[in-house]
Amino acid sequence: MSSGIPAPPTCNVELAERVLVGFLKSETQRIGMGKAVLGMSGGIDSALVLELAVRALGADNVFAIALPYRESNPLSLELARQGADKANCQFSVIDISPLADAYFEQHPELNEGDNSEARLRRGNVFSRLRMTALYDQSAAINGLVFGTSNKTELLLGYGTQYGDMASAINPIGDLYKAQVVALSKHLEVPSAIVDRPPSADLWHGQTDEEELGFSYDAVDALLHALVEQRLSNDELLALGFEQDFIELIRARVQRSQYKRRPPLIAKVTGRTINLDYRYARDWGT
């Protein structure tokens, strides 16, 4: 990246806190629920959602769950625990190793560790097993699964559909990564979590920025210019973004659009769900 590109988007943290805590409270209580479950990865996104959740529902009503695989970085579990301790909420650990290994035994091609396709498939399996456990735990407490995907990763498609992208409600899906960081500092997420290089912990030593091939600050600035400001290619170049980077990100955003939408339904009637049968989800509340 050339130097001099715009700074990533900012965030009025007090304002964001009020809006997001109010959102969690309203969208939970209006359907007669008061409890939440969320998966704690040891990263900043889930630690932030946890802080928002305890402010909205009270610490007693928030259940933070770490779901490690036996090869996961032990630091992730340790930081997940730290985040939950700081938020003073209930914390438990569900080891997904037996579940994942039982599946991998039936599909040995997934055990070839250096094969990138196998690595990706294994990562998706972990993510969807975690989703399965979280949804089951939410049913056990009559609560909702709170989502932890931020806007940057949603736009990039950097997540597993029906895995970590699955949730009932998501308070941070409209915040760019830089805004997540700013709000996390404001809500006093432990600095060991805030300062840790973001990682999906899909394999040993992985970091998001290395895997993606660009920094969050750079992509936040570009996405903000593309999505919020609707800038043209020429305007982006004039701001200092490189053409290759612009094209790479545009393509990623477009290619992953399917992940951000419900499945397509073949239209045969006059009122197809979500196309021309259109109701808000909060209908009746």
Partner: protein, 291 residues
């Protein structure tokens, strides 16, 4: 005018008209207890905002039992509320009814129906076709529903018709988190808009916004009253239900219009001729001959 005005900053349930009606009756009880002359509810106060296909399903005719029973309360207090109006010819309007002395005194059908960004009103509602000021026993009023107020011509028409106060029922989806002050960016725009309209139309501007969330969208309250000098004289909190009461009077109107006689100098006929030229009005020659 001399009017003890009550803003009812409420949180309607989405698509549950029966519950919202009951709520309106309770709020009117509170307004009467507080000896208010006039109560203002937000846009679509009987229905909630993100209606989509519910629009036609929860619509009511002006002579329906529900509306008639609510309007009957206006023997005790004048009030304005919002709902989906089902017209005789089966069009659906985003309407605000002004009720007084047990009858419907005025109906404003929203003219400017936004369908950009998150808005879908143009898809579901038919547009109203006028901005008509009306006389109430508490003063002369004009109604602008939310987006109507963003078109400066709307308020200007009420100004020319001698409105003492412009009532603005609102359901404004809040957005814009990057502001350095404590308002979402869209709310900041409302503050600026109402201050400017009050100051340069020299009327009371009464904005009643709703609160609550619908599908993740926040309606952030901050209902307010701007005096004819432009400044905010009363305002409600963000995100909380609130009954806000303030006394409107003629003295402030007079003071503003003596200090700067904008209404006297408005030159409506000049604007009329210019509009005719701009819009290629077929009566243009007649208008120019009038000069």
């Amino acid at each position: 005018m001399n009017c003890r005005l009550a803003i009812c900053q409420i949180n309607p349930k989405l698509g549950v008209v029966a519950d919202n009606l009951q709520d309106h009756h309770l709020w009117l009880d509170r307004c009467i207890e507080q000896k208010a002359d006039l109560a203002l509810f937000p846009e679509l106060s009987l229905t909630g905002y993100i209606l989509r296909d519910l629009t036609s399903e929860i619509a009511l005719t002006l002579d329906s039992t529900e509306i008639s029973e609510l309007v009957a309360r206006s023997t005790d207090i004048s009030f304005a509320f919002g709902f989906v109006e089902h017209s005789r010819d089966h069009r659906f309007y985003n309407s605000t009814v002004f009720a007084e002395d047990g009858v419907i005194k005025h109906v404003h059908r929203k003219v400017h129906l936004p369908d950009y960004g998150i808005f879908e009103e143009g898809r579901y509602f038919a547009p109203g076709n006028n901005f008509t000021t009306f006389e109430s026993k508490h003063g002369r009023f004009g109604i602008l529903i939310c987006e109507d107020a963003w078109h400066l011509s709307s308020g200007w028409l009420h100004f020319l018709q001698g409105a003492d106060a412009i009532l603005i029922p609102v359901a404004s989806p809040s957005r814009g988190i990057e502001n350095s002050d404590m308002h979402l960016a869209s709310q900041q725009s409302w503050h600026e808009l109402c201050a400017a309209q009050a100051k340069f139309l020299q009327t009371w501007v009464v904005r009643c916004n709703r609160i609550g969330y619908e599908d993740g969208v926040l309606f952030d309250g901050e209902s307010a009253i701007n005096s004819p000098m432009g400044g905010v004289v009363a305002s409600a909190h963000q995100s909380e239900e609130e009954l806000l009461i303030y006394q409107l009077n003629s003295d402030a109107l007079k003071r503003a219009r003596v200090e700067t006689p904008l209404l006297r100098d408005a030159q409506a006929n000049l604007v009329r001729r210019q509009l005719a030229i701009i819009s290629n009005d077929p009566d243009l020659d007649n208008l120019l001959n009038d000069e």
